[in-house]
């Protein structure tokens, strides 16, 4: 019996205008998006390769010993998943200047095309989250109320078929009709993507893509169930669609966007300016202490050239103390920001769209966790570079200490041809798939919950539905 109902629903949908529109929209949007984003990825790949060569050459051209303290510019490895999920940044490539002492300089992005930041990218998350979810509503809004209006439901239920089977059949048939064009378009888009030579797929990317597709199905199922639920609570199809569109506007277009703003009013974070000021004050104090200590030493020893190993050790200790204090301020700020982010995400998760978006970002290794991992890796590299710089300059420092800070040109000559070809390389790999899946399971559970709630709501409403 169930199969009959599913077949009937499926055939109904396949012959409808909405199915044709869904096919057209899914194909058009997914293929266009795939082409554009993959080509963009290709361009970014050549830029990345060029940048790496450029930075390597720049390093090899350095000759002076102290140039090792200037640090190195590293490039962020590209993420193939950015062809599907754009992520948090406008640009796919990024060059960061790393200096010892945890100094990271990220480039500002206002030199590029100013029209780009005004429009969100049409990536997989946007297509599924906004466009296909709207189509899901169009597929489900008149499943009950439309048939009630036209009188077909009355006929259907006059047979000895239990209501829950009818509802289940409607759900399965309708959902299959919705995801058929979506799946075909997705596969075609993937195929198109693989035609580009720059795209090199690996196991991680394939598994992530599969997981992303399943996540999309879960999200669409939730929206479709919502459509069915509202349909089973109204008597006219026009009322259903009105209510559904208004709910959709509120929960997909408005709530996730407004949540961070609302939360930032209640859970504020210190401004960049105040943090900068605090840190500058600490550095200023340290600088003055260095000067004072130097002067005291000079007075004590009654001469000017007092720079020796003992003094250097004292300065180093003071510097470590200062950096620990600065780090504490950073850590405090990070903690407060995390607090605000957690609350924003919590409030925003009232909308299933947020769960879908955040989980997709994490699956594509383009989300918040990835950002933190990346900055941590950069900071670790900065420390590594600091150690390398120290080693390289060990001889130089020794000679400087021997000559009490006074270096003649002849002495400097031996340090004017430093070889930096053995410098450490920045290695960064994206999160393994297992970690990504572990990261997203709360959002997945939430989406499952939405599915259950809406379907149960539809079931309870339909069982009592008056078909007269």
């Amino acid at each position: 019996m169930l199969l009959h109902i599913v077949r009937k629903e499926l055939l109904d949908q396949l012959r409808s205008l909405r199915f044709a529109i869904a096919c057209a929209v899914c194909l058009l949007v997914m293929l266009l998006s795939s082409v554009v984003l993959t080509r963009d990825y290709g361009e970014a790949l050549s830029t990345y390769n060029m940048n790496r060569v450029m930075h390597r050459n720049e390093l090899e051209q350095r000759t002076q010993i102290w140039s090792v303290n200037e640090g190195i510019t590293v490039d962020r490895p590209l993420n193939l998943m950015n062809t599907m999920v754009r992520g948090l940044s406008q640009e796919l490539t990024e060059s960061v200047k790393i200096q010892p002492g945890n100094r990271l300089d990220f480039p500002e992005s206002w030199e590029g095309n100013p029209v780009l930041p005004l429009f969100p990218a049409v990536d997989f998350v946007f297509i599924v989250g906004v466009i296909v979810s709207l189509l899901a509503l169009a597929f489900g809004y008149d499943a009950i109320s439309g048939e009630a209006e036209s009188g077909v439901l009355k006929l259907l239920l006059s047979y000895s078929v239990p209501r829950d089977l009818v509802l289940l059949g409607k759900w399965i048939g309708g959902f299959l009709a919705l995801i058929a064009p979506f799946t075909v378009s997705f596969l075609l888009a993937l195929l198109l993507m693989l035609l580009f030579p720059e795209v090199e797929s690996d196991l991680d990317a394939s598994l992530s893509l599969l997981a992303l597709f399943c996540l999309a199905l879960l999200y669409l199922a939730a929206i479709f169930s919502l459509g069915l639920f509202i349909s089973s609570r109204t008597r006219l199809a026009s009322t259903s669609i009105t209510v559904l569109l208004l709910l959709w506007v509120a929960f997909v277009l408005a709530l996730p966007n407004m949540a961070p703003y609302a939360v930032s009013q209640i859970v504020p974070i210190p401004s960049q300016e105040s943090v900068r000021r605090e840190k500058a004050a600490i550095r200023q104090e340290w600088s003055e202490r260095i000067q004072t200590t130097w002067r005291e030493e000079q007075e004590k020893q009654e001469r000017d050239d007092v720079y020796d190993d003992a003094l250097r050790q004292r300065f180093d200790d003071m510097r470590l103390e200062m950096e620990a204090e600065v780090q504490k301020i950073s850590d405090n700020q990070t903690a407060q920001v995390r607090h605000q982010m957690r609350w924003s995400a919590f409030i925003a998760r009232i909308s299933p769209m947020t769960s879908f978006t955040l989980a997709s970002l994490d699956l594509a290794a383009a989300g918040i966790t990835q950002e933190e991992r990346y900055v941590d890796a950069l900071q670790a590299f900065s420390e590594k570079w600091g150690v390398y710089a120290e080693e390289k300059q060990a001889d130089f420092r020794r000679v400087m200490a021997e000559n009490r800070g006074r270096m003649t040109p002849e002495l400097m000559e031996q340090f004017n041809h430093v070889d930096l070809s053995d410098a450490p390389q920045f290695q960064f790999s994206h999160m393994p798939v297992g970690d990504r899946l572990t990261l997203i399971y709360p959002d997945v559970l939430l989406l499952v919950l939405w599915n259950v709630i809406f379907f149960m709501g539809a079931w309870l409403s339909f069982v009592r539905y008056d078909v007269q």
């Binding site: 963009d40 300089d105 480039p107 429009f119 900071q379």
Partner: protein, 463 residues
């Protein structure tokens, strides 16, 4: 008059509908909440700006209080005298690019960099979803609501059978259509205006928006353009309604058009333009300029080693040559970027959504032109700072000695002479002129769709 009577019938019918009630509540909530949230954020940004200015003032006081003039000179020349950028008040309505530009510029380096604090020290969730400003609510939400309102205006009445009854009276069809347009439009424009006015009152009373006459005029203009934008979609919905015979068909077509025209076209345009008209990244340009400088340096070094008479001229020639190459490179980059930007805008303008956004952000002063003005202001600021520092030496007040610079006049330090960062914004008249193309495009769309609905309705089969 007959027209007025039908208009009244339309308005009453709309106002009493369930759709109107729910739309009204949603619209009102969204507009007011949006203004509240963006207003509060603006206030936070203004506080930060005031803090930055206060910080600068206290730095000045600190430097002025240094007793030893030589030490003071050293500290002043080494200090970073940053410039702060004031947040644009109308970013409350259309945030545009306001959040993409730094709020502080350093006086010591032209290239602004972000530290890892700035990178991680903000709530990244703000970047995940689009800013829910007034422009977003109108652009995305109100356009959908307008379509939702009017999609079954003609075909729905036909389905119910009331249209044929209406037209069985001796009413010209154009009057009916006009009345439907006016009645329906008023039904949606009025709640929108009320909500906007409510938002405006809140912003003025809470102090988030200063009541400068210029800002009020721009606010009014932005509201007017928003009403025009609603008219475009209202006409579009009416046209779809006259082109179909069933409400469900009209609804699906409206959704299709909305998806493609609002969600797809304007969002794909800029990234497509980037592929069609690529520009080398700023880093590559900078690297090439550094290579030019290095080459010039090497040539000048080799000249210095020669120590032949007349080399001064050659050295200067090399310098000028390098300058010229750098300028050419800058020009090349700017030209290519301008080409890409105009291509992006042209392609995006296929959708009225982009036209609306460009017009509104222009009036709010937060559009693409803000990047240019910021860059100009930054260049001016850096140059003024350089000149100021050079003048300190050239003024004759300071003598360079072996122990360091010696200041002759103890009262040399004048905090007011320090160049400040200032972005010149265009006048309201200039902004209107610049936005006129987009405004006219919206008018054209509105008129086009109305004419199409007119043409289709005259032939509409009401049986």
């Amino acid at each position: 008059m007959l027209l007025l009577r039908i208009i009244r019938k339309e308005i009453v019918h709309n106002v009493l509908s369930f759709r109107f009630a729910v739309t009204y509540v949603l619209l009102f909530t969204l507009v007011v909440v949006s203004m509240f949230l963006m207003g509060s954020q603006h206030r936070t940004k203004v506080d930060e700006y005031i803090q930055a200015e206060a910080q600068f003032a206290s730095l000045m006081d600190e430097l002025a209080a240094i007793p030893d003039a030589n030490e003071q000179f050293q500290k002043v020349t080494q200090a970073d005298l940053p410039g702060a950028r004031a947040p644009r008040p109308l970013a409350i309505l259309a945030r545009g690019l306001e959040g993409s530009l730094p709020t502080q510029v350093s006086s010591r380096s032209r290239f602004d960099v972000k530290s890892s604090d700035a990178r991680l020290g903000r709530n990244v969730l703000f970047d995940v979803f689009q800013t829910p400003d007034f422009a977003y609510v109108v652009n995305i939400v109100l356009s959908l609501l307008a379509l939702l309102f009017v999609f079954d205006s003609i075909c729905g009445e036909k389905e119910q059978g009331t249209l044929k009854i209406l037209l069985s009276n001796s009413i010209p069809r154009d009057t009916v259509l006009l009345a439907k347009w006016i009645g329906g439009y008023l039904s949606i424009a009025t709640p929108f205006l009320v909500a906007t006015l409510g938002g405006f009152v809140y912003l003025s009373v809470s102090g988030a928006l200063e009541l400068r006459p210029d800002d009020v005029v721009r606010f009014a203009l932005i509201t007017t353009i928003s009403l025009l934008y609603v008219a475009v979609f209202f006409s579009l919905g009416l046209f779809i309604s006259t082109a179909t015979h069933r409400g469900s068909t009209a609804l699906l077509l409206s959704l299709l058009v909305w998806i493609v025209w609002i969600l797809v076209v304007p969002n794909l345009a800029p990234i497509t333009a980037r592929l069609v008209a690529p520009v080398p990244s700023r880093q590559v340009i900078d690297a090439e300029q550094q290579a030019i400088d290095r080459e010039a340096q090497l040539l000048q070094d080799s000249i210095r080693e020669r120590k032949v008479y007349g080399d001064q001229e050659e050295s200067e020639r090399i310098q000028q040559d390098a300058e010229r190459k750098r300028r050419k490179l800058d020009q090349f980059y700017n030209d290519r970027m301008t080409r890409q930007v105009s291509f992006s805008q042209g392609l995006a303008r296929l959708s009225p959504s982009a036209s609306y956004l460009f017009a509104v952000t222009r009036l709010a002063g937060t559009g693409p032109v803000l990047f240019d003005r910021f860059r100009d202001a930054n260049d001016r600021f850096q140059k003024a700072q350089d000149d100021w520092r050079k003048d300190l030496y050239r003024s004759g007040n300071v003598e360079a000695t072996r122990t360091g610079p010696q200041v002759k006049d103890k009262d040399w330090f004048d905090p007011d002479s320090i160049p400040r960062f200032q972005i010149y914004s265009e006048s309201t008249g200039q902004a209107i002129d610049a936005a006129m193309f987009d405004i006219l495009l919206l008018v054209v769309f509105a008129v086009l769709f109305f004419m199409l609905s007119f043409a289709f309705f005259l032939r509409y089969d009401v049986t």
